[in-house]
């Protein structure tokens, strides 16, 4: 699957299918500070991402104090 990451913007090719939470863990990304969008739709942690999905992992933390 194609995985878009932000801050900085970059794209990864991840082979095979994954559960959302497994993908986040594999990329060492916090569940609390990210959302996962699959083919344009927000998906929960137990959704299964297929090998041909286009996935965006969107960070939700912003830093202005």
């Amino acid at each position: 699957m194609k995985v878009l990451l932000r801050n900085p913007r970059r794209e990864l090719d991840v082979p095979g299918s994954r559960q959302v939470l497994a993908l986040l863990a594999e990329l060492q990304l916090s569940r609390e500070s990210h959302l996962v969008i699959c083919n344009g739709t927000l998906v929960p942690g137990d959704a299964h991402l297929a090998a041909d999905d286009v996935v965006e992992i969107r960070p939700v933390i912003s830093g202005g104090a």
Partner: protein, 322 residues
């Protein structure tokens, strides 16, 4: 994608989001309903807004400020937006585009103030000229201009998009230092006083993750990229630390902040009043200040004399410190 097995807690339809702190999943409609309910609860609990208030929303082009503007309009409040052009290179240009597009698509009024155009400086230059951390120069400028725009425009309330994560992170930092003055002022509502508009934070019961999800579900385009000169600041480090705790013990951030407001803030109330009552008036702009000239006017006087500093220069300095 194979559909998730999880179901919405309310309707048992397919879920789009998991919220561990509620130990629940929600579909799009019931997630939005949860967010509206939390905002209404905050507004009512802390007496933030009246139906006839003239509201000014401080809008950055990011998820929180656009979400709170969207929520207030949805809930029937009359609310204009205020965007301050901070001059942080392309980041500010793109942020302004998101704020303008949001307002234009909904027929809302957006007031714009340009630091460079109206005050002769930008944030990178102010940071360099005054030797302040960029976030400090930015926060000082925004606070002053938010207050001024609200008072000049006759607005009765200034709304900011501070969310639960923002407030918990600031509380964490203030608690690490036991900074009583700042702790006493860390309230979801600050009443109007001479020289200050009433300020409220309707998103204090909602997390950053929930606000980003609100924007995605509602189709609101916002600035996803992080401010390039905020990278590596303490506020982000506090948020990361709290999220480690939250993952181990969901609900910790809400308990930390909301229980502070309920149990601790009342004990500090007298301290807060004393701090505000000691203020005088700035000889240059008339804003409240502890000195003869306020910190904003001093910053402007120094920064506008400095040659413009490109973002990259401040950026590399910040990165070197991390």
């Amino acid at each position: 994608m194979v559909a998730a097995g999880s179901k919405c807690r309310t309707c048992r339809g397919p879920a789009i989001i998991d919220l561990p702190r509620h130990n629940a999943h929600f579909c799009a409609d019931h997630f939005l309903e949860l967010c509206r309910r939390q905002v209404v609860k905050a507004i009512d609990q802390f007496q933030m807004l009246e139906r006839d208030d003239r509201v000014l929303v401080a809008v950055s082009g990011g998820k929180d400020s656009l979400a709170v503007w969207d929520l207030l309009i949805e809930l029937g409040y009359q609310a204009d937006g205020l965007y301050i052009g901070l001059g942080i290179g392309e980041y500010s240009d793109v942020s302004a585009d998101y704020a303008r597009a949001f307002a234009a698509q909904r027929g809302l009024h957006l007031i714009e103030v340009s630091l460079r155009g109206e005050y002769g400086y930008d944030i990178p230059t102010a940071a360099k000229a005054t030797k302040r951390v960029p976030c400090s120069a930015c926060g000082l400028s925004k606070r002053h201009l938010f207050d001024k725009a609200a008072l000049d425009g006759g607005y009765t309330v200034l709304v900011t998009g501070h969310n639960l994560d923002d407030e918990a992170a600031v509380l964490f930092g203030n608690t690490l230092r036991w900074d009583i003055d700042y702790l006493a002022r860390q309230l979801p509502v600050l009443p109007a006083r001479d020289g200050f508009p009433k300020k409220v934070k309707p998103l204090v019961r909602l997390s950053e993750r929930e606000m980003a999800a609100w924007c995605i579900v509602r189709g609101i385009d916002y600035q996803v990229e992080e401010c390039p000169i905020a990278l590596g600041n303490k506020h982000l480090a506090y948020k990361a630390a709290l999220n480690v705790i939250e993952e181990e013990s969901p609900g910790s951030k809400a308990a930390f902040y909301l229980n502070f407001i309920e149990n601790m803030a009342p004990l500090l109330a007298g301290h807060s009043v004393a701090a505000v009552d000691g203020l005088g008036t700035c000889a240059q702009c008339g804003a409240p200040t502890t000195g003869e000239v306020c910190a904003f006017c001093r910053l402007v006087d120094t920064a506008r004399e400095h040659r413009p500093v490109p973002v990259e220069l401040v950026l590399s300095k910040g990165r070197g410190k991390r």
